[in-house]
């Protein structure tokens, strides 16, 4: 009944991976854009300020609140200063790309939609093992939490899948599902390369081929130095305080989206300070609490404005 074992599985390979046509990094992005566009998502552009994840884009955080339909998808470059390795670790970088999908409310078949999207970008599901491994996601700075899985492909996490339950400390009245693809990891599978820097970015195989390393290695090296060694602590500290102040001021003017942007910027300052190693364990909790307070205030103001809007219409 259990037909497969290590001995016989050797013969099971149906497709020679090496022979597969090269699908470029950008093809993968296009493929996802096309797939989710066909589904009917708004194809958004990345947030034009530094964020640690697509979750921080206002089209995720703010739009997750309230009762309206909201289907959106976009590529988001992410900055996680502490994850930099001066381009020396093949799979760990302080700058990387997510593909972010938000479907609100979550439809009845998001798992199937996800698996089909993998096929759409060139995964042969009969060649790979996909599993849903419990992972309840939480973002303390945004006061956001949900339940879901990390999705593994042949033992490697390639996607985070979450049913939001709470954002900005507020329960979601219409819980969205968030699907976050790790584009580099997916590309290493599709192109069968060992490291992120080897990913074929433009799809050419001749001398004009450009890899992820060609595009980003220097960026990675220089930003690692900036994040860890050179960033001016005093400037960052005063930036953090300024963003916090500005956020509160904008909230007083009822300008929720600009206020939220200040909150996101403050969070990035904190991440840089953290990478610089100048924040002690105790202080750390304090900074996170300050950012969370801003995020909560923005989310509350957002929700309040939605309610006022509705009352005006009625």
């Amino acid at each position: 009944m259990f037909s497969d074992n290590p001995g016989s599985a050797e013969n099971n390979s149906r497709i020679d991976v090496e022979a597969r046509q090269v699908k470029s990094f950008q093809d993968i992005m296009f493929g996802l854009q096309k797939y989710w566009s066909n589904y009917g998502c708004v194809i958004m552009q990345p947030y034009d300020t530094e964020v640690g994840a697509g979750t921080s884009h206002y089209v995720t955080t703010l739009k997750a609140l309230g009762d309206d339909y909201w289907d959106v998808a976009f590529v988001q470059p992410c900055r996680r200063p502490k994850d930099g390795r001066y381009a020396e670790n093949p799979n760990r970088t302080q700058y990387y790309f997510q593909y972010q999908v938000i479907l609100k409310p979550a439809p009845v078949n998001p798992q199937e939609l996800y698996l089909k999207s993998l096929e759409a970008i060139g995964f042969d599901l009969s060649e790979h093992e996909i599993r849903f491994v419990e992972d309840d996601w939480e973002n303390p700075s945004l006061g956001a939490a949900g339940v879901g899985w990390e999705i593994w492909c042949d033992g490697m996490e390639i996607t985070q899948y979450t049913y939001f339950q709470q954002v900005g400390g507020i329960q979601c009245s219409v819980p969205p599902v968030e699907i976050t693809y790790g584009l580099e990891r997916i590309a290493t599978f599709i192109q069968n390369v060992e490291t992120h820097f080897d990913i074929n970015w433009n799809g050419r195989t001749d001398e004009r081929k450009l890899t992820y390393g060609d595009v980003l290695k220097r960026f990675e090296r220089e930003f690692s130095c900036y994040n860890f060694d050179v960033a001016s602590v005093n400037i960052l500290l005063s930036h953090f305080n300024d963003y916090e102040k500005e956020c509160n001021k904008l909230l007083a003017h009822n300008l929720v989206m600009p206020a939220y942007e200040q909150c996101v910027k403050a969070n990035h300052c904190f991440n840089l300070l953290d990478a610089r190693g100048v924040i002690s364990v105790t202080e750390r909790a304090g900074y996170i609490a300050r950012v969370r307070a801003l995020a909560k205030a923005c989310c509350s103001a957002w929700l309040k404005s939605l309610q006022e809007e509705r009352n005006d219409n009625e």
């Binding site: 290590p6 409310p105 979550a106 798992q111 009969s126 899985w149 042949d154 490697m156 049913y163 819980p175």
Partner: protein, 667 residues
């Protein structure tokens, strides 16, 4: 099958670590709900696989048991509100009330209902009450509202009774029940129609889903060990991992892969932890228990060449990280790491880990102890423990050995976390046991000293566990680890806290002793199977400052023996009766010479004069006391006689109290 109920809740993937508990919870809850509905049944069983939770009930009666009872309600003079509540909860009106003896009564008659008409409510109840650890709700488009809470979204429902599908609309899920389900997500993802449980289990099996968790688990276990054995290897036992991987697959397949030779220089604990935590791979060893350069993994689909490359590659990436951490860590001395502990908060009210270390030093004695204390927490700031918190202590011990510490010190570093509570193994070394004791006592004194105590089921700093560990370190090791009185350690730690400017409450010592006594009571009553109340009484009456934990334990076991001796009842009876008669009488002289002429009292006096402490003798005297009380007017109107009688009985009480703990006599 006749009178069989089958329910399946088909869901998105249920977290693997919850499967085992969910099976038991679902079975228990469903049975309870059936009883609440007065539905008779033979058996209830529950099943789980990653995408479904199923219930099978056999012998479920078609009609529920009719109920006929007279229910007493509020008093006639009770408030209108109370009366209305009573009527509402029983679905009756004022006309149904009967009055008798100042109370209202209702005649409740429930004729029994068709089970199929109740199944909707039963399923709704089950969904609402199933105790998932952390659940979610989702939006129901058709209901324009949120669903009930469940572990993950439910996508379809089977409900079959008496071989017939029962169509019910489950409002809280926005779904109709039916008789279809789905097979394995990747190997047979098609709709399956089923007739009854047997058919259901068979068809699932044909469609590559094993419904029985235990069957799946034991298959995996056997297959893993056979395949390893064929390579001359042994699977390192890991029950938690086995349960988890069993919960991750609908149908198991296996793969044994290679660990790249260049990683084999890493310590076994690191390899094994990295594989287990990150990849859910099993560690394989040679028969001599040394780690082999292979891993085993369980998959949900047959393993292809591409997958194998993936499994091997992802492990290389993981182990590269581990290798990086190990190199970074061994470039630094443990002393250098220990210096960073002043930045690591132990608790905001209790200072840093460095300060904890200083306090532990204040109760330590030998140079070896000081060395272990100085190093034992250093690995908390190492990269490896940052990545794998479960390796705390183990990494410290490995790094200590790398930097050439003596073996005893290395071993004590990992030992000092042991035992973690009532069921963990004890430290192997005397040195480690001492440091473990210092560490845990410091924690207990500090937290109780700033007023942080466990409440109910909440014990965020695991103080109960720390205390049980302290008790076991003192009671269960072959050598006594305490070189001073227990209370000396408490006092010295309190002083150390105060020297650091950390003010503990003035009652901290009593608080610690009280807490310790509580835990000791629970521990001894469980370990020695002794009546809780007895333990409680004896331990609460012990003077802690004059008695070691061992003495207290002996006292309790002795008391247990005594109370289990049948003739002790005679002593207790005589004692109680006597003290009832004489009250707080105090004799004018210590002399028990009985100068009266009552035969019974004379005999008693004789017995008390030739007194020895043996149990039999006290039983004998107690019998004399009882005889005397039966036959003599002790409380004689003649004050002189009364005084004589009382003096003698008081003597008896003193003797008994001298031999037995008064707690036992009064129980």
């Amino acid at each position: 099958m006749n009178k069989e109920l089958l329910i399946e809740l088909f869901t998105e993937d249920i977290p693997a670590r919850l499967h085992k508990k969910a099976i038991a919870d679902a079975k228990e809850l469903f049975a309870r709900i059936l009883s609440e509905y007065n539905a008779d049944y033979e058996t209830v069983n529950s099943f789980i696989s990653p995408r479904r939770l199923s219930i099978r009930v056999t012998g479920l009666a078609e009609v529920t048991r009719p109920i006929s009872e007279i229910k007493r309600g509020p008093k006639v003079e009770a408030s209108e509100q109370a009366l209305n509540g009573f009527l509402r909860s029983n679905n009756k009106t004022k006309d149904d009330l009967k009055e008798r003896d100042g109370y209202y009564y209702l005649n409740i008659k429930n004729p029994g209902q068709e089970i199929t008409s109740l199944l909707g409510d039963i399923i709704e109840d089950f969904i609402t009450r199933m105790p998932w650890k952390k659940s979610m709700h989702w939006y129901l488009e058709n209901e324009k509202t949120l669903s009930s809470y469940w572990i993950r979204p439910i996508r379809s429902i089977i409900c079959i009774y008496n071989d017939k599908p029962v169509e019910i609309y489950i409002k809280s899920l926005g779904l109709f029940s039916g008789n279809t389900t789905y097979g394995h997500r990747f190997l047979s993802n098609k709709k399956i129609t089923v007739n009854d449980f047997e058919d259901y289990e068979n068809k699932l099996n044909e469609n590559k889903v094993i419904l029985d968790f235990e069957k799946k688990k034991s298959y995996i276990e056997n297959e893993l060990s056979q395949q390893s054995a064929s390579m001359g290897l042994i699977v390192k036992s890991d029950k938690g991992l086995l349960n988890e991987v069993s919960g991750l697959v609908e149908y198991p397949f296996m793969y044994i892969g290679n660990i790249d030779e260049k990683f084999m220089s890493l310590p076994m604990e690191v390899l094994s932890t990295s594989m287990r935590v990150h990849q859910k791979y099993f560690t394989l060893t040679y028969p001599d228990s040394n780690i082999a350069p292979f891993f085993a993994t369980v998959t949900n689909v047959p393993v292809t060449k591409t997958m194998k490359m993936g499994f091997d590659r992802v492990l290389r990436a993981r182990l590269s990280d581990a290798m990086f951490f190990y190199k970074e860590d061994t470039d630094v001395t443990l002393e250098a790491y220990a210096n960073r502990l002043s930045n690591v908060v132990f608790h905001e009210k209790l200072g840093s880990i460095s300060q904890k270390i200083d306090r532990m030093m204040s109760i330590a004695n030998s140079p070896e102890e000081h060395r272990v204390i100085a190093l034992c927490k250093a690995d908390l700031v190492s990269q490896m423990v940052g990545e794998f918190p479960e390796l705390q202590g183990i990494m410290g011990s490995i790094y200590a050995s790398v930097q050439g510490e003596v073996p005893e010190v290395c071993e004590a570093i990992s030992d000092h976390y042991k035992p973690m509570g009532a069921n963990d193994s004890l430290p192997k070394t005397f040195l480690g046991a001492r440091i473990s004791f210092f560490d845990k006592l410091d924690t207990l004194v500090g937290f109780l000293g700033v007023g942080i105590k466990p409440t109910g089921s909440k014990d965020p700093f695991a103080l109960r566990r720390a205390t049980v560990s302290i008790i076991r370190l003192v009671l269960d090791l072959p050598h006594n680890i305490l070189e001073d009185e227990f209370t000396w350690y408490i006092d010295t730690l309190v002083t150390a806290y105060s020297d650091q400017g950390i003010a503990l409450s003035s009652t901290v010592k009593d608080d610690v002793i009280t807490f310790l006594k509580d835990r000791l009571t629970v521990y001894i009553s469980e370990i020695c199977s002794i009546d809780f109340e007895l333990c409680n009484q004896i331990i609460n009456n012990c003077d802690f400052s004059n008695s070691s934990l061992q003495n207290i334990k002996n006292e309790v076991t002795k008391a247990d023996e005594i109370t289990k001796t049948p003739s002790f009842e005679i002593i207790k009876g005589a004692y109680k009766r006597t003290s009832g008669i004489i009250g707080d009488f105090s004799p004018s002289s210590e002399n028990c010479e009985y100068t009266g002429d009552n035969e019974y009292m004379k005999k008693l006096c004789e017995g008390l004069t030739n007194f020895d402490n043996s149990f039999e003798n006290i039983v004998k005297i107690s019998n004399l006391v009882l005889e005397a009380c039966d036959s003599v007017l002790i409380n004689n109107p003649d004050k002189i006689i009364k005084n004589k009688n009382f003096t003698l009985l008081k003597k008896y009480i003193d003797v008994v109290e001298q031999v037995f703990n008064p707690v036992l006599l009064n129980m």
